[in-house]
Symmetry: C2
Subunit: 209 residues, 2 copies
């Protein structure tokens, strides 16, 4: 049997479905349909059915999806029914905001370590965390198997990413406004508000003319 | 002549090219090629040439692109050679981090207003800003033509988005972890670190098996 590779564009939509379903669950909604879910994420019902069909049979014709069951399926597919350890590197405003964000644990992630290179910050407390020295990364393999949220300045990001790759980190959420070059087996996702703003500005321009 | 609509997927890549070019410029690089640029953003040279060809002729066969000139072209296409006014709504950790972020102005945006609904915050200072009352939005059209970064809790986001739409806001960068329903002429981009983490967790799972 051939290993079927699910296209990344489909994978990218699963967390969006999961988020919408969890929001329904919070509002005590117990069943949904591909139409209803689609209207909440701006994706067509047909696309949702097609995406989910990659992973098996969910829901029944006419009765729709059980919200709790579909959440459990998606969490299993995305492997977030377990909790992943995440390290924050760079304890500026963004790093601090992330350590205080309450929305990670119920969606599969927990921050376990914080790092900075500023001697004034190293050893100090950030909420429940003691800020560690970024120079100590790699000593004792402390980040192997963890995910990283990288919140350092653009000019420092690649050098630290290289170190993370050496340490066995396979997933980096990059807040630094710069592209990272990493080996093919390391995943990077980017978070840059300006990219989102610029992408929207293009369309505002069109409308103003 | 028919108005040619550029596919959104192409528009979405232009800010990524621009960011890489500006990073080159900071490093005093004056010329680049589609190969070189492509290696920095993990997009093929052919794709970059095809994307840019939607907007005219840039660069010359054999000599490549002048970095400064291509930056100017892309800024003009994205309409970020001007500076857009942006309001932050929700002055929690994320709102505060955004008001202190130094990377907006040189990329086409400036924060002009901050809002919250907490009486303890309204009227207080956040850096150079006085936090305004979110209930005052819409009085005097103060947000018409502005972009908004929405950093309120998920449960409050749709209600505020409705109000923004009424006020003439056409672009919302949504940090609340929930999908927003807005009219077709309003753009929304989403920033949710958990979506990025979950998308990567899917692949970590595959590798661990």
């Amino acid at each position: 049997m051939v290993d079927r590779v699910v296209p990344d564009v489909i994978v990218s939509r699963l967390p969006v479905y999961l988020r919408a379903l969890q929001f329904m669950q919070m509002q005590a909604v117990t069943t949904t349909s591909s139409q209803d879910l689609g209207s909440k994420v701006n994706i067509s019902a047909a696309q949702i059915r097609k995406d989910l069909s990659q992973f098996g049979e969910f829901g029944k014709q006419g009765t729709g999806y059980n919200v709790e069951a579909l959440i459990a399926h998606l969490e299993k597919i995305l492997q977030v029914e377990k909790v992943w350890d995440v390290a924050v590197i760079g304890m500026g405003d963004m790093g601090h905001a992330l350590t205080r964000y309450g929305g990670f644990l119920n969606r599969g992630f927990r921050i376990t370590d914080c790092f900075d290179n500023d001697p004034a910050k190293i050893g100090s407390q950030a909420g429940q965390y003691i800020i560690k020295d970024v120079a100590d990364i790699g000593k004792g393999d402390c980040l192997r198997g963890k995910m990283v949220m990288l919140c350092v300045p653009a000019a420092a990001a690649q050098k630290i990413a290289n170190k993370l790759v050496e340490c066995g980190v396979k997933a980096i959420l990059n807040y630094a406004p710069v592209h990272l070059s990493v080996p093919a087996d390391v995943r990077v996702q980017y978070i840059d508000p300006v990219i989102g703003l610029q992408r929207m500005a293009y369309y505002l321009h069109e409308k103003n003319e």
